[in-house]
């Protein structure tokens, strides 16, 4: 049965009514209207649904609500805005690192969590960090360049 759960998202406590075994992605998208994280596979395989949970890039499509208690969650919307983009978002815009852009939420969230941990990675390090995120349009070269740019500009 649905229960009232408090989620800490983008620095605010938000009350949502969800089933404990439902996945975080649906609470973010359907209950809170946060559409940065995307449904891609629902299987944790593609990364389109990635959010940052307690500092780690996390696949929200396979993260049960029951496991989010007390967690601090950041979505793409919480990272930055068009007017005040996060350095990783800014680098993606400057490199024009998107085609359809559907996977990019996962790329940016994964890169932001990675760069927070490792601010000056090698190109190989970036590729390894992004390797489990899928892009179908083939924007990989630009995505890697954008993360390189963000690391140079102090993400």
């Amino acid at each position: 049965m649905p229960q009232q759960v408090t989620l800490n998202v983008n620095g605010e406590d938000r009350l949502v009514e969800v089933e404990p075994d439902s996945m975080l992605l649906y609470a973010l998208r359907d209950n809170l209207g946060l559409h940065g994280p995307k449904f891609g596979c629902g299987l944790g395989e593609c990364g389109a649904c990635t959010v940052i949970m307690n500092g780690f890039a996390t696949r929200s499509c396979v993260m049960p609500m029951a496991a989010t208690k007390g967690a601090k969650i950041v979505t793409l919307e919480g990272l930055g805005t068009i007017e005040k983009p996060h350095p990783v978002q800014k680098a993606f815009i400057e490199e024009q690192a998107a085609q359809c852009g559907y996977c990019i939420n996962g790329m940016i969230m994964t890169a932001a969590a990675f760069l927070a941990r490792e601010p000056h990675p090698s190109r190989e390090g970036i590729i390894e960090a992004l390797n489990a995120n899928l892009c179908r349009c083939g924007t990989h070269m630009r995505i890697v360049r954008a993360v390189e740019r963000a690391s140079h500009e102090g993400a």
Partner: protein, 775 residues
């Protein structure tokens, strides 16, 4: 906070400001009506009690307001029936319009696809948007500029030739203080001016009599204008179809048959009512779906009925299906193709190939096999339908909104005048995938429950049921004379249809022929070599096994693989350099130009095809090679050269440097084109190395990204260089969405041969297959 499509509310008279507040800043496309018209529309909507006014027809193509609106704040909107699929055409079309309109491109937004607000310019496929819609929009914008100049002439009481338009402002020549903006001239009115239009779709001519600018004077076309959609997409502020919510909406999920052609025997609904938010099962013949108040509720209900990643059998879920095993055997699909009835289509027939073969000192023969592949959109198909007794509204990401509107009218038996389709961008599709089929799924579910229903396919629905690119088999034979010249060429191909437009939902409700046709395969080649005798023919099949549709450069990715790898085989047999061998058999100057441009940038050194292995130690684990291939796709010439290493131990192929020379004529947005070409290269590399749809005799078994892997970051090339050839104002702008996909499988096969002497003739070149080829 929930985002809703507020356009209906807007039409009910909510002003733009109220609209923006109500929608939380989300801007939804809308037309500018004269105040009286807006009020009339609002009154009509209120009277009918519907969510949108009924019967909103596309605007007449001969009216300027069908293409342009100018607001008092001197911003403007371009309306186009074309849609964005992630290729950047929204920005490119805005550039074309801005140039002709003398208007700042950053103040020109673009409304796409929504059928009540745009002209039907034909579907957005086949690399045809810039090529066909570009001139239509250019002419409409030029007509708009003329209208504005005439308004200004009246304003200043002068003649048009005393005026100059620039940057959205008109100035009286010689009187710099006398200026008026477009916005002030239009003063909030609808641009109700006749500009003339004739024909339909790709062939439509808009404002045919208006003079357009000399291409050499373009200032916006040819610039790498940043894409309009990217900042919103990078920050979560962009609205994809998957993000749209409408008032009163329910969530639906499909439950597909276990076997593709299975019949639904029974549905056990026990336990469904206990799922929070569950509304009802929708069953119509073999069409099965569930509807719930929440997305999670719909997912849970569908799972109970049998919608899972790995279904255990036709009776494993609570929905019981007949045992159906009508698909052909996967490993023998190419033999099956050869036995299909099909129709013979001749592409090229000159000279006498048989005579030339009979006297040839040297013959080479080979067969190339390619599997079913999928579009593999990262975002699964999604649509919302609101079906009422006398009309319906769709929210859809279809690549063909106006066509989809007609198709939905036929499916529902509702006059097309009652159907509105509001278009929103989806994830990249690369051809006709599930996006049109999900419209029909949503329609049937909404019709059954009497409320708007949003349907989103699960990953296994997408992988399992999206129409695939077909499996193809090709036989090639060539004759060489004593000087190593090709005297005769035979290329026979067996290609299933790539244009099957039947709807899955229509087939499931037992009305397969209500819309669409199967069609048959066609010879997807542009023959260009100057062989004295040639026989190029296609056995065009209908549907063979799986439902198919066009997939990026339909069948030409596969035919280019066979042609250009076989050219390499002939070059190797003739012990010639593969680049020189091609050039010796070509007269097309644009083909020669792209090959030479790629070779020069790459630093191509002449040596016989396959001689790469002689330049390195035979016992080294990594074998290095290079390859070349080219294609002519719809008048675009593209040549690709790359180098790679093959790991003899694992069979893994890793691409190093890629050089692509691309001639699509005048380039609207160079950075956007480079983005496209890089994407084509990587996606086609993925298709070459990894991709094969697997199936048993019941259904597709590659139902997720584990079963159907695509390229990972660790496998991307070291670099991709894109050379723009013949990017000059005097050339027309041809389409660039697909051509650079074509050469990739051939160029990889050729480079692997160069490195190892092993010829790969069947994609994908997975490590196990490459390794097996070594032994």
């Amino acid at each position: 906070m929930e985002r809703q499509d507020m356009a209906p509310a807007l039409r009910r008279g909510l002003g733009r400001r109220g609209f923006l507040q109500a929608s939380g800043g989300l801007v939804i496309a809308f037309s500018l009506f004269a105040p009286a018209a807006a009020e009339a529309a609002a009154a009509e909507a209120a009277a009918s009690g519907s969510t949108v006014p009924r019967g909103i027809l596309p605007p007449p193509a001969g009216k300027l307001y069908a293409w342009l609106a100018v607001r008092p704040d001197n911003s403007a909107t371009l309306f186009t029936g074309k849609v964005e699929t992630g290729t950047g055409v929204a920005t490119a079309l805005a550039q074309i319009a801005a140039d002709e309109l003398d208007f700042p491109v950053d103040r020109l937004d673009v409304v796409m696809g929504t059928t009540s607000e745009t002209v039907d310019q034909g579907p957005s496929y086949g690399s045809r948007t810039i090529r066909y819609a570009g001139p239509q929009i250019r002419h409409a914008a030029a007509a708009g500029r003329l209208v504005l100049l005439r308004l200004a002439a009246k304003h200043f009481s002068v003649s048009v030739n005393q005026l100059m338009a620039s940057n959205g402002t008109i100035t009286l020549i010689g009187s710099p203080g006398s200026t008026v903006t477009y916005g002030a001239l239009v003063a909030g009115r609808r641009l109700n001016y006749e500009i003339g239009a004739s024909g339909t779709s790709f062939g439509m001519r808009v404002a045919p009599d208006v003079r357009t600018k000399d291409p050499s004077s373009y200032t916006v076309v040819g610039r790498s204008v940043p894409r309009k959609d990217i900042p919103g997409k990078m920050t979560g502020q962009f609205t994809y179809i998957q993000d749209v919510r409408v008032p009163g909406m329910l969530h639906g999920r499909v439950v597909r048959p276990y076997g593709v052609g299975a019949s639904l025997l029974s549905v056990d609904e026990s336990g469904l009512k206990e799922i929070p938010g569950f509304v009802q099962v929708v069953r119509r013949d073999n069409f099965l779906g569930v509807v719930a108040e929440t997305e999670w509720g719909a997912i849970q209900a569908a799972e109970k009925l049998g919608s899972t990643l790995n279904p255990g059998g036709p009776e494993a879920g609570q929905a019981k299906w007949s045992a159906w095993n009508g698909l052909p055997v996967m490993d023998r699909i190419w033999e099956t193709l050869r036995q299909e009835p099909g129709a013979n289509i001749t592409a090229v027939d000159h000279g006498s190939v048989d005579t030339a073969f009979a006297s040839a000192p040297r013959m080479v023969k080979a067969t190339y096999q390619t599997p079913f592949q999928m579009h593999g959109s990262i975002g699964p198909s999604c649509a919302i339908a609101d079906v009422r007794s006398d009309g319906a509204t769709f929210w859809s990401c279809t690549q063909m909104p106006h066509e989809a509107r007609r198709v939905m009218a036929e499916l529902l038996g509702i006059p097309v005048e009652g159907i509105a389709l509001r278009w929103f961008e989806g994830a990249g599709a690369y051809g006709r995938n599930g996006f049109d089929h999900v419209n029909a799924d949503a329609a049937l579910m909404s019709q059954a429950v009497g409320r708007p229903v949003r349907v989103q396919w699960m990953r296994w629905d997408e992988h399992g049921w999206e129409p695939k690119g077909p499996a193809i088999v090709q036989d090639l034979a060539g004759a060489l004379d004593a000087n190593g010249r090709v005297t005769a060429w035979r290329h026979h191909m067996w290609i299933p249809t790539t244009g099957d437009t039947h709807l899955i939902a229509a087939e499931l409700i037992g009305k397969p022929d209500i819309v669409g046709q199967t069609g048959h395969g066609v010879p997807a080649v542009t023959y260009a070599y100057t062989f004295p005798n040639a026989d190029v023919a296609c056995h065009g099949e209908g549907r063979v096994g799986l439902l198919t549709a066009w997939l990026r450069s339909p069948a030409q990715f596969e035919t280019t693989f066979a042609m250009e790898a076989f050219m390499d085989e002939l070059a190797a047999a003739a012990e010639q350099d593969p680049l020189a061998f091609r050039l010796a058999h070509l007269s097309d100057p644009r083909a020669i130009a792209v090959l030479q441009a790629a070779a020069e940038t790459y630093g191509w050194e002449s040596r016989p095809a396959g001689a790469g292995r002689n330049t390195q130690a035979a016992n080294s684990r990594l074998a290095k090679g290079r390859g070349v291939a080219w294609a002519n796709r719809d008048n675009v010439r593209v040549a690709t050269i790359l180098d790679l290493t093959v790991d003899r131990g694992s069979g893994a192929i890793k691409v190093g440097r890629v050089v692509v020379a691309h001639d699509c004529g005048l380039v609207i947005n160079p950075d956007g084109l480079r983005n496209q070409v890089e994407g084509n290269v990587i996606q086609s590399l993925s298709r070459t190395l990894h991709e094969e749809v697997t199936f048993d005799t019941a259904h597709v078994t590659s139902r997720d990204w584990v079963g159907y892997p695509i390229l990972h970051f660790a496998e991307i090339p070291d670099s991709i260089e894109v050379l723009l050839v013949n990017n000059r104002p005097e050339y027309p702008a041809y389409g660039a969405g697909e051509p650079s996909t074509c050469p990739t499988a051939a160029v990889i096969s050729n480079a692997v041969f160069d490195a190892t002497g092993i010829r790969l003739r069947q994609t994908p070149f997975r490590p196990d297959r490459v390794k097996a080829a070594f032994s």
